[in-house]
């Protein structure tokens, strides 16, 4: 009896996760779409405007036809915030793997995982450690919040991280971020979302920057000093003048997110990650009774009900 229940909840969660992947691939979150429309309104370079128009049209077509927004559907990364009282934690890795294989076939997603040594592409987006899962544990919660991020290769090749000398301070961080955006140029498909992590080592800095990519556009850090740094960086980056796809313009970044942990006496580690304009993410919550609620795409809740 228990086994039957487990398998029925598993297949229900697989289906819900396929839907989550489909939402991420085909339906840009409303905060990102609104930021693109705003960028279109403030630009006056006609080539840049025509590119932004094509991008905004594309978002609408993708949503209506349920087609991937971008052909590079990335490598699937799952971010899970799971409560210690959530009953299905051990099911999740196999749920995500099955859902990814099914979503690759059904949406479809582009098969993007290539074995490093053999060069073989299994064709279903799986592979060693894939899909990648990052876990955060939340004390007292009886639910799980699952976010999937589909991030393409173009925005990944411009990622960078470094240990600065502590004497370089916040100004050193600003310079490092501005130079990262300059060197990236049109490659990551601007206007980008820039996410910065500052910490005692590179591993921590990357982890913080990664989670910053999940934060909605327009949402500032809760610490006013960090929020000010975000605004300083956003203004500086937009004065660089690349605009959409480097055609020249006022909006090179849709937003900048910063988070930090303490530094070490000898290090000031900084990581800069970027997401392309098609900043695709989708979040759902799974409740202890197996019910699923879509957070970034609430319109889907009607379809499920």
């Amino acid at each position: 009896m228990v086994l039957v229940l487990a398998s029925s909840i598993e297949s229900k969660l697989v289906e819900a996760t396929v839907k989550l992947l489909e939402a991420a691939a085909t339906w840009l979150p409303s905060d990102v779409e609104a930021a693109l429309i705003k960028a279109y309104e403030v630009e006056d370079n006609p080539v840049t405007k025509s590119f932004l128009k094509a991008m905004i049209d594309n978002v609408r077509i993708a949503r209506e036809k349920r087609l991937p927004i971008c052909q590079d559907t990335g490598v699937a990364m799952f971010y899970v915030r799971v409560g210690d009282k959530f009953p299905y934690t051990s099911l999740l890795p196999s749920v995500f793997r099955k859902a990814l294989v099914e979503a690759t076939r059904r949406i479809p997603l582009r098969p993007n995982t290539i074995d490093v040594f053999s060069g073989k592409n299994p064709g279903d987006n799986t592979g060693r450690y894939m899909p990648w899962i990052e876990w955060d544990f939340v004390e007292g919660w009886d639910l799980a919040e699952v976010t999937v991020l589909l991030k393409g290769g173009g925005s990944e090749v411009v990622a960078r991280a470094k240990n600065l000398i502590p004497a370089e301070g916040i100004k050193g961080i600003i310079k490092y971020v501005v130079e990262a955006v300059y060197e990236a140029g049109p490659q990551p498909c601007p206007p980008v979302v820039v996410s910065v992590g500052i910490a005692a080592n590179v591993a921590m800095a990357v982890r913080l920057a990664e989670r910053g990519l999940l934060r909605p556009i327009g949402q500032r850090h809760e610490d006013p000093e960090v929020a000010r740094l975000e605004e300083t960086l956003l203004e500086a980056i937009n004065r660089v003048g690349f605009g959409a796809h480097g055609m020249g313009g006022r909006v090179t970044a849709l937003d900048v997110h910063v988070d930090y942990a303490p530094r070490h006496p000898a290090t000031l580690s900084v990581a800069v990650l970027m997401n392309c304009w098609a900043a695709r993410r989708a979040t759902m919550r799974i409740y202890p009774d197996g019910r699923v609620e879509y957070i970034t795409h609430p319109q889907l809740n009607r379809e499920v009900a």
Binding site: V47, F51, C70, P108
Partner: protein, 196 residues
Amino acid sequence: MRTPLSEEDVRKLNVGDVVYLSGVVVTMRDAGHRRAVELLARGEKLPVDLRGLALYHAGPVVRRVGEGWEVVVIGPTTSTRMEVYEYEVIEKTGVRMVIGKGGMGPRTAEACKRFGAVYTVYPGGAAALQASQVKRVLDVHWLDLGVPDAMWVLEVEDLGPLTVVIDSKGRNLYDEIYREARRRIDEEIYPKLGIK
């Protein structure tokens, strides 16, 4: 514009021009370029004669339909990775237009000038829009490289907006935008923030 493109056609184009292309485009990205350059170095032919056609840095999402294929969505990949190969490809195939995103370097610009070709960019990520501009899949080669890296031969209609970023006169639009960006960073942004 329509393929086959003549040298005269592409030599009329200037950086910043916006064009729409109809006819035949052939995709090649990282692994395809590597294979193409190896074949060309040995004096062998590619599966498709690229003379007068457009070469597209893209890896589509495709679906099997009966015996054939359908492009579900398609869009450009970052071209900078193909910079190491493109001079030889332009020289030895006679391709007239390279389509991608993100820009290309001085060797490609030199090949465009010498052999009469242009590099254009399509707005990256606008893949659903572009799928409607692909009429059909004419052929596919090198599927052993995997779907993204295979050579897809596509019939397109009014593919665009394509902006000319490298013309055949030695101009590179992105170089100019980079130079202006550097000037703004050094003369405006850093001084205002007290950064040396």
